[in-house]
Symmetry: C2
Subunit: 750 residues, 2 copies
Amino acid sequence: MKIGTFIDEKREYVIENMQPVRPLKNFVWNDVTFAELNHFCCGESKACNNNDFRPIVKDLRLVYIKDKESGEIYDANRNFKNLPFDKFHCRVGLGYQTVESAYKDLECSFTVIIPENGYMELHKATIKNTGKKPRKLSVYSYVRPFVNLNPTLACGKGSYDERVGGLFFTFHAFRCDNELTDLFYACSEPCQAYSICDGDFFGYGSYENPQYLSGAKLPSSAVVYEEDFCGAMQFDIALAPDEEKSFYFVIGVAKDEKESAEITKNCATKAFFETEYEKQKYSAESYIGKSKINTPDEYLNSMVNIWLKRQISLGKTWGRIYGKGFRDLLQDTTGFVSFGQARARERLIYTLEHQFISGNGLRQFDPVVDYPYQDMPVWIPMAVLAYIKESGDFDVLNAEVGYYDSDARESLFKHVQRGMEFLYANQGEHGLGLWRGGDWNDSINNCGLQGKGESVWLSIATVKATDDYIEILQNAPVQGANELIAEIREKQAKLKENVIAHGFEKDHFIYGINDWGEKVGSYECEEGRMYLNPQTWAIMAKIFEEDRLQALMDFVENNLKCDYGYMQNVPAYTKPNPHIGRITYMNAGIYENGSVYNHGVMFKIVADCLLGRADNAYETLKMIRYDNPLNEKSGTEPYAISNMYFGPSVYSRKGFAPCAWITGSAGWLYRAITEYILGIKADFDGLKIEPCLPSAWQEITAEREFRGAKYVISYRRGEDKGLFVDGKKMDDKKIPTFAVGTTHQVEYRY
Amino acid sequence: MKIGTFIDEKREYVIENMQPVRPLKNFVWNDVTFAELNHFCCGESKACNNNDFRPIVKDLRLVYIKDKESGEIYDANRNFKNLPFDKFHCRVGLGYQTVESAYKDLECSFTVIIPENGYMELHKATIKNTGKKPRKLSVYSYVRPFVNLNPTLACGKGSYDERVGGLFFTFHAFRCDNELTDLFYACSEPCQAYSICDGDFFGYGSYENPQYLSGAKLPSSAVVYEEDFCGAMQFDIALAPDEEKSFYFVIGVAKDEKESAEITKNCATKAFFETEYEKQKYSAESYIGKSKINTPDEYLNSMVNIWLKRQISLGKTWGRIYGKGFRDLLQDTTGFVSFGQARARERLIYTLEHQFISGNGLRQFDPVVDYPYQDMPVWIPMAVLAYIKESGDFDVLNAEVGYYDSDARESLFKHVQRGMEFLYANQGEHGLGLWRGGDWNDSINNCGLQGKGESVWLSIATVKATDDYIEILQNAPVQGANELIAEIREKQAKLKENVIAHGFEKDHFIYGINDWGEKVGSYECEEGRMYLNPQTWAIMAKIFEEDRLQALMDFVENNLKCDYGYMQNVPAYTKPNPHIGRITYMNAGIYENGSVYNHGVMFKIVADCLLGRADNAYETLKMIRYDNPLNEKSGTEPYAISNMYFGPSVYSRKGFAPCAWITGSAGWLYRAITEYILGIKADFDGLKIEPCLPSAWQEITAEREFRGAKYVISYRRGEDKGLFVDGKKMDDKKIPTFAVGTTHQVEYRY
């Protein structure tokens, strides 16, 4: 069954099947608050302050309507009863989400946004009488707020608060961890009654028929215990034919009643909602306008032009939602540089402030996870290089940046350098990178804690990072650059030798050698005999000459492919193995243990392009799409890439995609399509065009801003091959920079 | 509206109003597993192993029935739809709970028990066709099991397991804290289909109409992720008129599949259920038979003869459910001694194994709370004295008992002694007991952490404990007893002086003096100017001569009384005060902050009796009853005493009783009625009769076992006052001990 429709001109996806395989998600956010909304506009929202999460709404946001004459009660945005609505769909927007329904001559529209600033959400509910008879209704808003911050006793209370002009919940516990103790929920319209806890709303009833809705008024009493708090308001309205009525809500958290009252006064208004709604609606325009592609693949166009940008933008601000990962932010920032340099620069510096003075980085912050993962420095040169190439801002290397565990502040370049030094200083007996707590594969977390195990993947990634580092040194005005290059080239060459000597086995690279001297990802293993990432990264790191790399990719095609992508490892682990770690305890086919982990698939697509295997790259793209006919029940959002698909080992649900949105794949997918397939690559002094185009594609155009100028690029097969800029053939494959504000026609003939 | 009916001969309470003010609770348990059941048989169950809780069922246990001809679906034991059932009630039993319903010629009965041993629950569901037509039904059992033990990723899975013969869930995570990783749910009857997760049961529906029940079969697929797991089985049956069908379920946790399979094989059977059900039904008989009262107050009779015994029994095994408190177990054991000496002895020793070598005790274990509360030793002499008096077992003093923080093992007497030494060794500048983390009032937890603050209540309680200690020393064969008595008497006298000098203010005792030298519970305070417990305990400790104690009780009557009991403190705190602690952060009127805290009310009743204020004691008893007409919406179980009633400061819900069952009040209430009102007190060499009878009571009889003999006691007003045993007048108020198995008629004429 069709899920919905892309409406690119509105930057919307409209979900038409309201009972999809799994709830479809959208994220709305600002820098301090996010909401994870399903297609009913339900889902958790959280504020983040002082490295701590402070949830706002737990899950439900419901709009109930009661016809006061017939007594019928239904929830307009969730339809628990599965009533035959005349209309029922969800508009997934950039920064907003709207559920629209129509039932028995009443239309209801419910929208949720996060305003530009503040720890809050805004809701708008509109009810319209589309019939010929006047209607008398009770409209009930219902949210489930998060009140009890600590398991401390009897400190949560809720009541209608005159000063706040709405429902007000406080939690003033002894030694409360979070200062955002208060929660407000107010509406632009006066309510006739309210409930503060589920007992006064659902009673002994359920979602379908909340007990207290059958009465004339909600109980309107205050609540002062460890209750299941709710925020519910009742509005009694009369609607003439064609009349409509809108309600504007704000729900958020604050330090006290005074602050809450100030916010509700300004924000529970039509004016504030409409202003912020417009801001949200167009906030993405600034970066969406930076580039555009027009390939024969409409879906890819929608994704690149709109949705991936949005998903990358989420990642660069909120990491993986459950926390901000060092490597995650760097990758998403790398994906983001081409459409927001100022923001990318800020994120780069922000992330590097979580680097240790040792050169390694803190695995995750907001909240902190400090397990000794070793790969943080690998991602730094890539991000810095991408930023400088895009912006031309070499000066970023002089930016003074602090460390997580030291008062020292040093230049950003010094951070890059310390990172590289860390990688080469921490090698084991085979001259490979020490594994310690793990690397990209977070779940191989017990191979190196004793300080002996070495990771082949980490070593390969170090070789790749070294290339990026050298490229920075070669182009940036760094003192003593030549000596640094010479020195690290020598180390890189030695490392490459060691990778080949100890990491290559017959036809593939193993993942590493653990503390017990046992190989991981080797034919010697009972399970997990081969891994995807060491192969694809060996290609990115050019560990071998080209023909051997092609053979390596053949190995991937022959051994790691399934109907809907490429598996992380084969066979998936089924037996817990403490010499490897938690990956072996996970169910076979899930997460890093044998799923089609999309992040890894992206590396594979990039590697395909590096080897000129354009059709393989494109085929791979099609395999992981939501509409792959061989994986019809994946459940994934058409407008976002999920973290993974369950691997074939998940016998009952193979191909299912949980973990919506939360993945580094978005940034890599965006780059894979624009930089590797279309081949438009920022360089220090211009744009390079080095495409790797699917054979089936004929007409392709693209637009892109670069250093303030606009390039309209068309790809054309035919005679007179070469790159033409404003009609003039270029000597190399590079488009020069131009004056800010100018537009240039580029033709790539091949 | 009437809640239900006591049926003493069946040891049952039948709840007839299935929508009471709040869900009514019952507990069923063995030594390692308990379930907290509401009157729909829903609620959490937990296993306790290795000082850790391992939940089994999260909350719901539902029986859905679908008429395959009409298609109508309803849940027979919860009635979310509020259908007009012909019958719908709950039988609250000792060790079992049964919901019985009847709707459209189908009767359903659903029973939950915990068998004598093991980490499991047993359920029985019976469906009977009471109509004249044959019926074709699908019966669905639904439980919500607890599968994901840690927030570790993708380690939970569930499927139908042939070996287990039912649904089987495992959670084999890397570094899992609890070895009980597996959960089984099996039935005596083969199921035709099943669901493992809510997505495959409720789908987009809700409790009222689970989406997948409308289909012919539940999906029956396996599940392998961090899902909302459920255990649901479908049974397709046909019932002729008058035919019935029973299903016997077991749900529990184990280490592995093998262990699970062994359990389900034996336990998912009619035979096992019926045997265990009989055991549970009669397990309480052993202690219920130990005593019986027959007063003009039927409710008190039911409570003392049946329900309080059960509630005390819960406390002595499971403490306060959320954990086993040192002081809680000692008090409940004190309440329990008269009907289970062997178990009381075991509990005494078990608790004292959590004493520190310093003499103080660990506040809570299973799981551990080690905040430095100072009052643990106060409760030891009371419990030991009660046990010895009841059993005559002086030898318990020689039992070797370990310590929590030391390898030393010493006699139980030494434990008592170390406790008393701790209390006297830890005094502050006014010669009162150091307050540190707190005392009985857990929520005054920041008055003494700096080591200066002193608690007046703790000092008074020490005086009382000293009396008990001296009584032990006077009667037990302890070496050097006389010297010990002389020594501690001197200390006690000094402490009493200090209590009066520094703790008494005008007309009442303050609670203490904090680290900052500020008084708590004094007229100097803005809030919390007077507390209940220092007054009632001053009476128990005989701090003053009698007339001043009477005045103290007058103070209580005049200042701390409300319509439904006596408040812990007045006025309740409304302003957070870090110089006092979390009590001032709690909402006013809740828990220790100004509620009618029943534990404190029990002390007041005992104090009344000590002062001969019989009618006040009885009036107080009536105030806290579920049927107090001045507190009709308390919501409390008629058959159990709740922890508290919200104080009058809780403007919207004053008098409401949350926290069912979980209170030390049960033991004290039992003792207040039997030992203080009826005055039947065990002594070293016989039973004393020292009653304090309400003036309105005329005919009273009681039965009691003591040292193996049975006493049938009647109280009679009239001439020839005195105590008569088997017709013979006693010189003092004491009944001597008799041969085991003999029965004796006792008359107390007054």
